[in-house]
C-alpha cells in the first residue's frame, strides 16, 4: 500500500478557507505557495535566433508589457535564467550551442519553442542546414505556431506555462524533473558530423511522429 499522502488530502476545504480568509487568516499549501512564487517570477534567457525574436522583444516592451506576468527580467546568462524562449530558425550549425545553453541553465528550467521554425523547421523545413524543430534535442514545454507568432500568442504561451508550473506536484511519481534525482538535467549536445548532426535527434526526448496509412 502506498503510504504517501495523496496531494488532494493537503487541501483545506474551500468553504473553510473562505471563512478563515474573512477573518484575516490565509491558508495555503507549501506546494501552492511554492508554485505561485515560481510562476510569477520567470526569468527568460535573453537570446533570439531570427525574426521571431523581434516579436519577443515587442512583447517585453511597453505596448504588450510582459512585466505584467512577472517575466520582464531577461538575463544575458544561462546561469541566471529559468526559461528559454527559442525564438526563430534553429540552423544545424546553431543547434549545439542552443542545447549547450539549455544544459547550462539551472533547474527548474522550461522551454517555449516560438514560431513555425523552432517547432518544426517551418518554411525552411526542407533546407539543408535547418533543424526540423528544437524538440529533437531538448524537452519543450510550450509550442507556439505562427510565422512569426504575435505578441499575444507569446503571452498566451506564458500563461500556459504558468498554469503548467502551478499544476506541478512536488512529490509523487509525477513530480517535475528538478525534484527527481534520477531524471536527466543535461541533454546530449549534438556534434558536427561529415553530413549531418550526430546524433540527428535525441531519442529520449523525441520520437518521429508515427504514420498511420489507410
Amino acid at each position: 500500500m502506498d503510504l504517501r499522502v495523496q496531494p488532494q488530502n493537503y487541501f483545506v476545504d474551500e468553504g473553510l478557507k473562505n471563512e478563515l480568509q474573512k477573518q484575516g487568516v490565509f491558508t495555503t499549501t507549501l506546494e501552492g505557495i511554492y508554485n505561485w512564487g515560481r510562476q510569477n517570477s520567470i526569468w527568460p534567457l535573453q537570446f533570439g535566433l531570427a525574426c521571431c525574436a523581434i516579436e519577443m522583444i515587442a512583447t517585453t516592451m511597453a505596448r504588450y508589457d510582459l512585466a505584467r506576468f512577472g517575466a520582464e527580467v531577461f538575463r544575458p546568462s544561462p546561469r541566471q535564467a529559468d526559461l528559454m524562449i527559442v525564438a526563430g530558425t534553429v540552423t544545424k550549425k546553431m543547434a549545439p550551442q542552443v542545447v549547450r545553453l539549455y544544459n547550462q541553465m539551472a533547474e527548474p528550467k522550461y522551454v517555449i519553442a516560438m514560431g513555425a521554425c523552432a517547432i518544426s523547421g517551418g518554411p525552411f523545413k526542407q533546407g539543408y542546414n535547418v533543424l526540423k524543430g528544437i524538440d529533437r534535442y531538448i524537452p519543450v514545454d510550450v509550442h507556439i505556431p505562427g510565422c512569426p507568432p504575435r505578441p499575444e500568442a507569446l503571452i498566451h504561451a506564458f500563461m500556459t506555462l504558468q498554469q503548467k508550473i502551478s499544476a506541478q506536484e512536488l512529490t509523487g511519481v509525477n513530480r517535475p524533473r528538478h525534484l527527481n534525482a534520477e531524471a536527466p538535467s543535461e541533454f546530449v549536445v549534438p556534434k558536427f558530423g561529415e553530413h549531418d548532426l550526430e546524433p540527428p535527434s535525441n531519442p529520449s526526448v523525441w520520437k518521429p511522429a508515427a504514420l498511420t496509412r489507410a
Partner: protein
Amino acid sequence: METLEQIKSRLTHALPGARMEIIPNDSPSGQLSLLVDGAHAVAVAKFLRGDLELRLDYCSNATGIDWPEAVIKTKIKKKVVVDGAEKEVEEILETLRSGCLEVVYHLYSMTKKHGPVILRLRTENRTDKTQLPSLTPVWRSCEFQEREIFDLYGIGFAGHPDLRRILMWYGFKDFPMRKDYVAPDDFEYEPTPHDEVLEKTRQHSAREVKL
C-alpha cells in the same frame, strides 16, 4: 556605357591571349554576359577596374551555378524528299553538354554610375578540376561571397586571402547547392507533401516498408 561587344573587342586588343565569349540571353532582360577563361580572369578584372572609360570599381554580387552533365535536345526542321514530294520533318538533335561549375560576377561603376557588366568563369569539370582564380584581390567585396561559393558549390579560389567555409561547419563534406547533393534522410511526416517533397515521401516510405 559601351556595349559588351565593344568591351570585348577592346579586351581582345589589350589582352591578346585571352579567350572570351559572349553568352546570349533569351530571357526578356536580354542581359548579355562575358565568359572569360580562368587563366586571364584576373588580368581581365584588372583591366575592367582600371580602364578610364569603364572604371568598374564595385562588384555588387558574386554567385555560383552548377551545370551538371546533361543531354540537350534541340528541334531542327529539315526538308526531306519523300516519294518525289518535299516534306518538312522535325528532327530532334541531341548534344551532350559537359558539366562544369560557374561563377558569375556583377560589376558596376560608382564613379561613372553605370553597369552592370557580367563576368562568368567556368571550371573545367565538376569533380577534380574545380579551381578558379579569386577576384578578391581586385574587388574586396568578393571575399565573403567567394567563401560562400566555396562553401556551397566547392569551387576553390586560388589567391583568396581566407578561404574557409562560411555557412556550414568545418568538417562538413558535402556541397549543398550542387544539383546532385543528397540531404540526410531526416524526413518526417508532412501533412501536404507536393513536388520534391512528395518524391522524398515516396522514397522514405519505400525504405520504411523494406525494413
